[in-house]
């Protein structure tokens, strides 16, 4: 793919088969996105018959979309590496090949995450100089912004140079997507001093110190929600654990509030009065709003959505893809990695 050619329209291929509520949520999300932004062209990838049936029920205008048939589905419990080889006509394999061939500018799927990771790396290829593609996930901070956690679960058992790559890719991503000039980078460790950490972080700290990036040093678990840096770098094992812990906070809060409410009638009244506050507490952890997360470091735009994506999540995922495309981020990643160390 030659990503230097930017079209007026952003051509997006959407996996209609991926996700727990496919195809309806996927198609409804696309409809909403098309309504709001005329610069988007949507290609639905999946079982043509199912798509056509659903689209006619929804009274879609035929000129708004195209369909690419993919009559196999990589299921959630399929083993990624095997499924990619055996299901060549699956929506994920077909969709990513559309990006590779430059037929579309981005591919989006709420299907099997492992398959998306593996297939994106194999089909689109890694950007030259990138050892391991990664995912950064924005976590809402108390300052109102986000702290992007990289790697949030793509690679375990990282080497120090992988963490350096995450910092380079993360800097470009956070600047491009959130408009943060020269974002601050922290290395997740168990103490702020450079001498604190495990083998991996001690070595990565040294690489980051001489990287020329806006590296502020080690940060701790508490600095994420506090928003003390724009980007927190860690191994994918740690990132995944933190992310899943963070996702469980809303549920914890809901249970605590419910139990308070059930203690007495007066507590019930108080809770009802205060309803608006809770929305404010839960919504930052609502991953539907965020849509999907792009795989950073592959040569093309591949966005991975949550299995339980709502139409809203699909719509936001489409807008994420559009923004990454219009900001020319893939080329910026390439330049940054190429220029690093020069």
């Amino acid at each position: 793919m030659d990503a230097t050619i930017q079209h007026n329209k952003c051509r997006i291929a959407l996996d209609v088969m991926g996700g727990d509520f496919a195809p309806q949520n996927n198609i409804l999300g696309a409809k909403e996105a098309l309504k709001l932004d005329k610069s988007i062209e949507i290609t639905f990838v999946g079982k043509r018959n199912e798509i056509t049936k659903f689209l006619s029920e929804q009274k879609f205008d035929k000129q708004d979309y195209s369909i690419i048939d993919a009559d196999e589905v990589i299921e959630m419990n399929d083993v990624p590496t095997e499924a990619i080889k055996s299901k060549k006509k699956s929506s994920i394999v077909v969709g990513l090949n559309l990006v590779k061939d430059n037929t579309v500018d981005a591919f989006l799927s709420a299907g099997n995450t492992g398959a998306m990771l593996t297939a994106s790396t194999l089909i689109l290829g890694r950007i030259k100089g990138v050892g391991r593609p990664t995912i950064g996930t924005p976590i809402p901070t108390k300052r109102g912004g986000v702290c992007t956690l990289i790697d949030s679960g793509t690679s375990v058992d990282c080497r120090p140079n992988h963490l350096l790559e995450y910092a380079i890719l993360g800097s470009i991503f956070v600047k491009g997507m959130y408009g943060v000039e020269n974002p601050t980078i922290g290395l997740l460790s168990i103490g702020e001093e450079d001498s604190k950490g495990n083998e991996l972080t001690l070595a990565a700290n040294k690489l980051l110190r001489k990287s020329g990036l806006n590296f502020v040093g080690n940060v701790e678990g508490r600095d994420i929600l506090a928003g003390n840096v724009d980007i927190v770098i860690c191994d994918g094992f740690v990132g995944n654990v933190i992310l899943k812990f963070a996702e469980s906070i809303a549920d914890w809060l809901k249970t605590k509030i419910k139990s308070y409410m059930n203690e007495s009638f007066i507590n019930k009244i108080k809770t009802l009065v205060a309803k608006g506050i809770f929305k404010n507490l839960f919504s930052p952890f609502d991953y539907q709003r965020q849509g999907g997360v792009p795989l950073l470091g592959v040569d093309g735009i591949s966005i991975i959505g949550h299995g339980k994506s709502s139409p809203l999540a699909i719509k936001n995922m489409i807008f994420n893809a559009r923004d990454i495309y219009s900001k020319n981020l893939v080329n910026k990643f390439k330049e940054a990695i190429k220029n690093y160390g020069k």
Copy 2:
């Protein structure tokens, strides 16, 4: 120390110099504990003059305590290994030697955590068969109980057998302290399947599977607050990061509630009405209530408190020590480790 001899009274040595609010909070906490439980004997360890002065101001009854002079202090920024060697008359070194000599049954300090860890291991020694002493921290779950996270920051770069040891020690601790019969143990990883994880957890999973412990398999970050197991085992790097992340939730919540409150007058009223709910949300993360955490795997009772310990925290720390002593946990650890693999 021969921990098989159980006295009627529990003899506790308290570091009066350790902590950000020493000596006042330490002494006030001890006073509160003595008032509530006559079975406790307190020995204050620290600078005799300072202790005597404060005690007379507080109108302490002389028969309630004894003082052991220790005129050096390991400061918060001292390097633990060096400080232990150079400050032989520090409260931490003197206090732990009192346990070693069987002059007291437990030593408690809210001082330099690293120094407490190192000095406890060096002076009390490790229980035979324990590679690395550890700390387990209870995290409040949505079910109302706690999930104990082991190791919560003592050892980074663990080997698989260390995680097995944590599971053995944790089982005894959680049964003894929280009365949970045959507590369930989960290994913190990035997926529930045995095949998911990093090099460390893949190997530890195999050891735990054949351990005969009540091991339920891998758990994820979300299972901690959900309370899906009684004990979560992990490397100290991961444990420290999770713990500090969890500690920052209350602050995040407070900021979000404050910003909602400041949006309008009506929001302010609503927030005031709902005040009681928030207390319910913050208090589980109030580490003052918990007091301190015992170092598991050393041959004696050594309890490490938070640097910012309030009198309440000190009081609870004293009660923790008393409970560990009266339940004879150190001997139970010894038996469990000795019997393991037989």
